[in-house]
Structures are given as C-alpha cells and as structure tokens.
Symmetry: C2
Amino acid sequence: MKIAMAQLNFHIGNFDGNVQKMLDAVQEAKAQKADIVCFSELATCGYPPRDFLEFDDFIDLAEKAIKKLAKAAKGIAIAVGSPSRNPVPEGKDLYNSAYFLVEGKVKHIQHKALLPTYDIFDEYRYFEPASTFETVTFKGKKIALTVCEDIWNIGNENPLYTVCPMDELMPQGPDFMINLSASPFNYNHATTRIGILKANTKRYKVPIFYINHAGAQTEILFDGGSIVMSPNGKVYDEMPYFQECIKTYDLEAVQKNKKETVQAKDKMTLIHDGIVMGIKDYFGKLGFKRAILGLSGGIDSAVTAVLAARALGPNNVRAVLMPSEFSSDHSINDARNLAMNLGIQYDIIPIQPAFESFKGLLGPHFAGTKFGLAEENIQARTRGVLLMALSNKFGNILLNTSNKSEAAVGYGTLYGDMCGGLSVIGDVYKMEVFELARFINKDGEVIPENTITKPPSAELRPDQKDSDSLPEYDVLDPILYHYIEGRKSPKDIIKMGYDKKLVHRILRLVNINEFKRYQTPPMIRVSAKAFGMGRRMPIVGKYLS
Amino acid sequence: MKIAMAQLNFHIGNFDGNVQKMLDAVQEAKAQKADIVCFSELATCGYPPRDFLEFDDFIDLAEKAIKKLAKAAKGIAIAVGSPSRNPVPEGKDLYNSAYFLVEGKVKHIQHKALLPTYDIFDEYRYFEPASTFETVTFKGKKIALTVCEDIWNIGNENPLYTVCPMDELMPQGPDFMINLSASPFNYNHATTRIGILKANTKRYKVPIFYINHAGAQTEILFDGGSIVMSPNGKVYDEMPYFQECIKTYDLEAVQKNKKETVQAKDKMTLIHDGIVMGIKDYFGKLGFKRAILGLSGGIDSAVTAVLAARALGPNNVRAVLMPSEFSSDHSINDARNLAMNLGIQYDIIPIQPAFESFKGLLGPHFAGTKFGLAEENIQARTRGVLLMALSNKFGNILLNTSNKSEAAVGYGTLYGDMCGGLSVIGDVYKMEVFELARFINKDGEVIPENTITKPPSAELRPDQKDSDSLPEYDVLDPILYHYIEGRKSPKDIIKMGYDKKLVHRILRLVNINEFKRYQTPPMIRVSAKAFGMGRRMPIVGKYLS
C-alpha cells in the first residue's frame, strides 16, 4: 500500500482555493500511484478558523467542500480534516473531524478527542470532544485516524487530558496510524514533535503518517515538517519545513525501515525561514504585494528589511529614511548602505519640518514645560504619519519593526514606531535579533557591521541610548524570558540571581504596558509564548503593577 | 437567619484592595446582624483574571486572601469566590470555587461545574469542572452553593452542558441556594437573568441569593443587580445597577414573601449608566483621573464627551477642537457650545499648518497623484498626534470616539480617529448613538440640537458626507446587527428584504477590516456581541471577503 502525504498551505475560509489545491494534489498522488492521500487538520476551511465556525453558512461551505472531495476520491482514498456537525443538541455544535473518503462517499469520520484550550488554542470554544473511537478498514488494512493533539497524551501521561485516543483504538488492531495535524511552529517544536512521535511508536509499534499544515495564518506559523515514522521508532522521513510538498511512501518500506532521516534544527535557520514564510503568506493571503518600512539605521529595522526583501522580493520592498535633528550621521549611512545591499527602493524624508509644525501648534499649550516624552513621541508619530501616508497612497503594507524586548517593557511609541499591519520580529528578543543579524551576515555583509555593533538608540533626544532607560539587553532578556515564557514569580527570578529592584521594575513595566500591546499589530509567532492571542492579560490588572 | 449580600466592585489582581473591601463589608454585615455575608465569583482576585491564573504566585496570593478572610469569619460566615488548586495532576490545575468560611476555617468548598467557554469567556482554558456536589450545613440550615453559570442549565435544558449542578444538589434537601456570580452586563442581561432565576425557583422551590459583581474590568461591565428570589418565583429584591451595595435579608421574610420588587430596565438608561461606570473604573483602576478627547462637532464625540464628563467630572475632561480647511463653520460652534454646556476645558488647535507640512514633505513622492484617502487620513492622523502629545504631556488618557457601525465597516483612520486608550461607544451602533444623544437631552439641551440633526460627516474633504461611502445608518445598522449579533449568512439577510449587492458589500467590509479592529482600543461592551475578546476573527480569512 502506498500513502501520499500532501503537506499544503491552506487559507482560512478560502474553500474554493483549498479544495482546488487538494484536487490538484489528488491528481499528483494518483500519478505517484498512491492508494491514500492525506491532508492536514481542518484543511477545507483552514486552521484556525476561529469564530467563523459560529456561522452556519461557514459550516455549510465546509460540508460542500467535503462533497467535492468525496467525488474526487475515485481510485484513491482521501483522509482530510474538516469541521462536522454534532447531530445531538447536547454539547457543542461541532466536531473537529478526520474524514475518510472512498469512491465518492464518506466511509468514516473520526472526531478529535483532545481539544487544546490553552495558549493560542480555543478549541473547546467550538468543538465537542469525541467519545467513540473506531478504526477504518481500507484495502484490507485497518487504519487508526487521529487529529493533531490526539497523539499528545500517550498512555494518559499528559496531565491535561483524561482520555488517550490511541489507547482506545489499539484493541481494534490498527495496521498503521494517520494523524492529521495543524500544529503551530515555535523554534523548539520540531524537536518536541519528533519526541512525541517516537513515544507513540514506542507504545503502539505501528507506522505513523503525521501530516502537518505548512503555511502561516496571520501571526501563527505552521512549519510542515510532516513525519513518517517506522514502527521501530525511527523517523523514516521528515518533510521540508515551511513549504508545500507532496510525497508518496510505501507502507512496506516504512515497516521494514532501520534508518533514520531527519533535518537539522538550527534555531536561527528556523526563525529566519519561519518569519520569511510568515511575511509572504500575510501578504499573499490578504492579496497584497508590496511592503513599506522605516529604516532607522538600527538593527531592528535592518533585520526586518532583510526578511521582507527575502519574502517579497527586493522590488516589492520600499524603505523610508526619516532623519531628525537627533539622528546621528551614521544612521542615515547605515540605513542607505543596507538598502543598497538589498537593492530595495529608499527615500529620505527628514521629519524636521513636520516636527517644528507640531511644536508650533502645541507651543502655547506646552508653555513652561520641558522637552520630554511627549516631544520624543511626536517624532515617532510623525514618522508613523509619513509611512502610513505612503502606505495608503501606494497600497504597501507597513511592516512594524519592534522587537519582543521593547514590546514587553513598552519601550515604543503607540501610533509611532508601533504602527504597522504586521509585526515581523515582535516575538524575537533583542539578543536574538543580534543573533539573527549575524546569521543573515554569515555568508557576507548584508546588514552593515556598524548597525550590529553600535549601541542601540531610539535617537529621539540628544545622545540617547536604550541603556539610559533599560538595563543592558543581556540582563533584560533573560528576566523577560523567565517571566513571559517561564511564568515565574518575581521571587523565583530573584532567586536565580537577578537584582531584586530591577526584577520588580521590569515585571511592573511588562504589566503596566498591557494597554500598549493591546493595540500592536499581530506579531509573527516563533516562540512558545508570544504576545497576542497566546497571552491574554487584563489591562486594568493590578498584580505586580 | 439573616443573609448579607455584599455587591462590590473588585479589581483584578488587587488582592490587598479586594480583601480590605471585603473585611470592611464583613464589619458592615455584622452591624446589620447578618449570619452569613456573600461576595461574588472570584472576588479575591477579580474577574476575569485571564492568564494571571497561569502564575503560581498569583494563586498563592489568592490562597493568602482566603486565609485572611477566614480569620475574619468570626461570628459570621463568609461565602466567597476564589480560585483553588486541583490536588490531582489529571485535568486543569485550578477550580473556580465557592468557599464557605466559618470561625477561622474553610468549612466547605464547592467548585464550579459549568465553565463558560464562548463569547468573552475562556473558563475552560484555566479550570477543571466540578465532579462532586455537596451542600454545606450552617446553623441548622442546609445551603446549596453554586457559582454563576451553574444555575444556567436548569434541569439540563441548556444544550451547552451535560450536568445540572442544582439537580445534583437537590436530593440533599438544601433550605436555600447562594449563587456567586460575575455575570457580564449587556443591555438585555438583567431581564434574561431574572428569567433564569425564576426558572430556577420554579424547579427547585428554594430561596436564592444571587450575588453579582458590580464594576468594570477594562471593557467588560458587571452591572450588579444582585437578586433575592423567594421560593414562589417572586423577586424579593433586586439590588441597584452599576454601584456597590451591602444589604441584609431575613430568610424567613424571603420565604414568606408574596410581592415582587424589580427595577425598570430601560435600554438607554442601562447603556448610559453602564458606560459611565466603565469609564470611571477604567481610569480609577489604572490610577488616572483626567481624560482628553477631540471634539469634532459631530454626534459621536459629543456623546463621548458627555459620558466622560459624567464619569470623571467636568474638571477632569479636556476637549480639543481641531478644525481643518474642510471643517464647516457649524462644527466649531457646535463643539464649543457642547464644551460650554458641559463646563469642560476646550482648546482650539487648527491642523492646517501640520497638514501643509506633511503635504510639503510628501509632495515629491505624491507627484502626479490626486487628493484621496491618503490625504484624508493625514488629517485624521495629525489630530491623533496632537491629542496624544497632550495626553503624554499632561497625563490624560485619550478617549476614542468611534461608534460600532464605523468600527464594523472600517470607516475610520487607524492611528487617527481610531486612537485612544478606551473606546467609549465602540459597541454602540450609530442609530443607538442618536438615541443616546436624545436620552442625554431628555431634560434639556446638553448636546446642541444641530449636532444631532445634521448629516454625519468626517469632514476630511470638501462637502463630504458619511452617506457618500456608506448606506444610510438605518439600513446599515440592521444589516450589521444581523451579521454580528445574529451571525446570519448573507443569504439569510437578503431574505429579510435587504438589497443583495449591498449586503455583500457590507459583509465584505466587515471582514476585510478585521486588521483595523485588531488595533483598536478596548471597547466598553454593552451588547451581547461586541468587537474585541468576545468576537475572535482571523485577519487573513477569505470567507465573504
């Protein structure tokens, strides 16, 4: 028996596009002589469809998509994820289901039992968990169908859940398992995923065909990396990261296999490639082509520009250099050098006239006050106005260049440098931005060396440095990591050896800046705990503030 | 037996403040000769605490709060909501619990069984549902303790749930029920709530002491309106809306009662009073006093200014009038008249110089293009810069003045009129804004009549009217309502008699503007389906776009 894995990039709510992509894949799988072709979780409607699931009409469209796919299941079986209606009134209205389509018909439906409801996941908001488990027989083979999280509670050892779907299915003696996933990327996920699959084969001793989504939905990346596991726990094959791929595997060869084939999992490569896909899909799925961004000469906008140029092509990226009286000479030079290295269009628009105009208008109202935060922010917001004007006029999406460290402590101007349709490196700590810059330059200078080595500065007042307001990033970032990713208490973090006053100051900054993060653009998620839908905090909270 | 209902305003994560408020209430209840005093759901930590619940340290603080309250439970019992730890590793780490504290000790804990996970609710993200149900006996009376949603599945008729906690508790023969709630307001909620309580007494024939939170947490309002139900289904008393109140009831009198005492539930009164509380609490809980807003002479900013002045006091509200070359004469006059009627500070800052300055800077880049959206947005954003500069300089929070109709179709400028720390009327459709203005003027003109009667206009180009871009609001609003609140399909809405092309155009606008709403300030929620945490939509979704 031959099984085709179709690792594809679906688009939420784009039923026609998703179905067409699957119909093409069915043809390709047939050409590859496959008996079964597998698609990922909720492939018809895209994952995560979020509250679109509450529209009856949306579910109707998903059902129509399944009918079209069933018609195409001639001479080949299709395993595909799609929402299905719960026929009984009790419980949630929907299931998150794996369909098995054969010869024009739905031969079998297995619902998902384990519904992740943490971090970015809201599945219990929509779905009823499966209560029955059945294998499906096709061409003499018994197949255990599971959906994503269903294989993450091996032998009931995951404390989150009380059911283990594979423990329920094993008594029926499946010959192999197909898992339909839409498992979001983070830079550790590929390693974790292989660990989970190995643990599954160790317990169940059957081949596993784990098919993952490959593509971005707004800020959430799915890295693909679909896996075929031999029953002995060796990875028979791992499909590429961050790209579509259709490949057919021979069941017998998978069963007999003794070798292991896995890809390298370098953190910076993964973050780099993931963000590039994230930008590409954000633009592609919204129907845009061109980006605009402000280039300050600093490292954040430099890294953002490189990633954008790689995602969209240099011709589709426009940079604007907007010096002020506080910009240093090297800033403009560094920014210009970068733009020239990348081959992207750049324009220089000095902000001084608009800044003066605002100072003039506000003069009578600001009388007797000193130059301060308000004046610094006017500069950042003037840049925002200019960038958005160009964006509106020419149809470019503005890219936000803030990093995770800044976003965490609120070191940024709302409606100023916090503008943008998409935050490119908002889930990358400053120290990681440096690493990423070095990674980008590994085969030759793309980002000017001076951009990487000079002390970070917002350049909104004379001789300003980030370190005037914040501790050095090599101290700040670990504290943030322990609080955000680690959810440690101030006491725990102080015990690790960090200064008490500093820890309290930093954690307070994180909490009192929730109002700012509420209004930031979606941030491409590369860590296991990103700002945005995965971290839901009250604005008026008093805890640690 | 006497039961005190302490309907209080708690603050998320403000354990010291919340405990002190409850200790004061315990004294007051004792003075009122109460045997038991009841507080609302998750009173120790405030509701909804959201992801703070994932911090061990936060739960430690909740446990310490319970210890302090238990110590105060001398000569009086305390019923209070607080998170509690799940002692077994299986399942979620926490319960949402009702504690019953007597003579320094925790006498009983009943966990919540029905965990709302829809709209603004995420309880299954954090909590394990109760699996056991027990009454607690105090001074010879058996008490059924329930938490909020637990009484919303009467006799298992709510299709969302499969357990009915009161059905489980009734065999133990409770003398009465206490329900600890934090039940969010919408303008229909008080009526719905009384219906649910009546249905409970009809089935269970015991008195119910339903104690609700009264206060706002960022955008979510809790209206109080706590209820004492007689076993015959009559409302013995309904506590006031949107304010704190401590009142003690005699159980025997409640049992014998034959009268019904309820408050009027006028939609505009509720929306008005709710928003006023929402503004007040947002400022109070963040530690701010003063607001700033732009007054355009239009109805949205006028209504916002009135509500702000009523919430914070006229001395704490500052208005800025920012005319441009496209402003009509009446705009400035209407805005000035309103400011004078309200007795709030106002300043006039014409935006022309900054607008000219931007046009000058962008001139070479805009060469050959026509005046359009980009130029309109520059004006709105110039106003945003001015307002934020004043906000930054003087520590006022900027109030956003967008309404729900605009927010729905994206008729607003991101980083322009969409700026602000809090959206005051973002959950109020334009037609309702007119109603609210009439309501405000019911005892005499506060909002100038001309502001109410003139055709709505953004005044960003010559002779602009909202109706140039949008259908009339009496057509637009119902279509939006059916799509947003009703979750109807285009087909359903067209069947109701609306023009097909128009329906498709409007629904498309709603969906393609998700990226804008992602960056709007939190909107005070007054309807059953508000933008924000209650409506979670993908940005890159293709459905209907």
